[in-house]
Subunit: 275 residues, 2 copies
């Protein structure tokens, strides 16, 4: 899915919601354990119930890897259920020297090699450009680079002063030379005005993937007040508050209701965007 198609989906669905598939087999409704692949069945039903309300799905690779072969199978099959009207993001935080990053790119972008055909992948920036470029070598695929994360430990390195900029600003400034806003997004776990202003200074119309709205307590209105760009420029993720809205047989319906609440709020906030 390219940038035009992504913006088109945002307009059609009046939503910039990403549903995070951080699917923990110990947290899904118990009746699903009778299925051959309970995690896949959970994800399948969540996708079926929400795909007209969101523009992206983001499986978190760790939750699948933790279950060994069974988890990897669930991830591959889940990836096949993400409809073409939604961006498929694999949250994998990879990054290594060139020939190794090429292998990671094959793992998530090349269905002939691995069975998976995601549109985008989250990448850690520490190893620099040659750790990122092998992902950009795949046409029509996106790199979503970690810039400013939402966790407590983010402060330890990302806010370090590096002369004119803090490290997270320097990462964006440097990475802007690797690809344009049609191939690169940034992970931005900010909610404070000052941080969004700093990011929008260097990435005025890039898409930003914002985690942590919902169960983790971020405010959608605050994110939008400071983060919306002229092309929307936001993909806001919510995982637990949607997928674990109920632990009963109504889990998919309840997930839809939670997604609908966020989509409705987004619809109002998008009125400020002059597409």
């Amino acid at each position: 899915m390219n940038r035009e198609q992504l913006i088109e989906q945002i307009k059609i669905k009046k939503s910039f919601l990403c549903v995070g598939l951080d699917t923990d087999i110990s947290l899904i409704p118990k009746f699903l354990l009778d299925f051959e692949d309970p995690v896949l069945e959970f994800n399948r039903q969540i996708i079926e119930a929400t795909h007209d309300l969101c523009i992206a799905y983001k499986p978190n690779s760790a939750f699948y890897e933790s279950r060994g072969i069974d988890g990897w199978k669930s991830l591959i099959e889940t990836s096949k259920h993400i409809p073409s009207t939604c961006l498929g993001i694999i949250d994998a935080k990879r990054g290594d020297i060139g020939n190794t990053s090429s292998m990671y790119a094959k793992a998530f972008f090349d269905p002939k090699s691995s069975g998976m055909n995601f549109d985008a992948i989250t990448i850690a920036p520490y190893m620099g450009s040659d750790s990122v470029k092998p992902f950009l070598a795949f046409e029509n695929k996106w790199v979503i680079l970690l810039a400013l994360t939402s966790n407590e430990g983010a402060k330890e390195f990302q806010f370090i002063e590096t002369g004119a900029n803090r490290l997270f600003e320097q990462v964006i400034l440097t990475a802007n030379s690797w690809a344009g806003n049609d191939r690169m997004m940034y992970v931005v776990g900010a909610t404070r005005e000052e941080e969004f202003k700093a990011i929008r200074k260097y990435a005025p119309d890039h898409f930003l993937l914002v985690p942590g709205v919902g169960a983790q307590g971020g405010s959608l209105a605050d994110v939008c007040r400071y983060g919306l760009s002229k092309s929307c420029g936001l993909i806001v993720n919510s995982s637990r508050s949607i997928i674990y809205a109920s632990s009963g047989e109504d889990f998919a319906q309840r997930a839809r209701e939670e997604a609908k609440k966020l989509q409705s709020e987004m619809e109002i906030l998008l009125k400020g965007v002059d597409f």
Copy 2:
């Protein structure tokens, strides 16, 4: 394997060699393709031929992930063939928020969960302490944190001046407060004297995992001149020059010969260490 046991293995084997299992199915001897799991058979024979000459094996996760389910199976089965006299390092470059890093830790450290029981994992530092601590919550397991990598792009962020230090030095200084040299190692792709001196200033007796000796052209003598500590403090990796020494039926024997050359050089260099 704890620090004492690792040092004991270095003394017994007169070696601080790590064999990198960057096993690419397109590069292994063709006759192995008749086996049910050619990559596993290759790794099994490499391990059988070299385990008395090295103190660690390091599968590179990307090479396995790129092959989907088949690759993940090869990785899990390979992990079971690493003998207890060698440190099992999974080169995975992971790191995410706390609950996600806990899942990655289960993936590689908890055999009941995933089938894998590695001793150590490589981790990217960008997200800070809470992305690393879940790995340290597993007793007797090691974190090998990226500090200074050997690739060209390393310069873009790792050498940034951050006040008193460059970023790679600041990473070591900060991470030293998360765990001692009995739980934490650093990835150091340095060969230059000045860089090793900078690293040994903050990590005087930590083990450093040094990639790139052999096919990638680093000099073992240089690494040792500047990097050896009073407890050895080095694990030097070689991948391609060992595992792809021959593409014929003699591949394991030729791998042994290459490993023996490095071990012999290491034996001489270790005479300078007063264990």
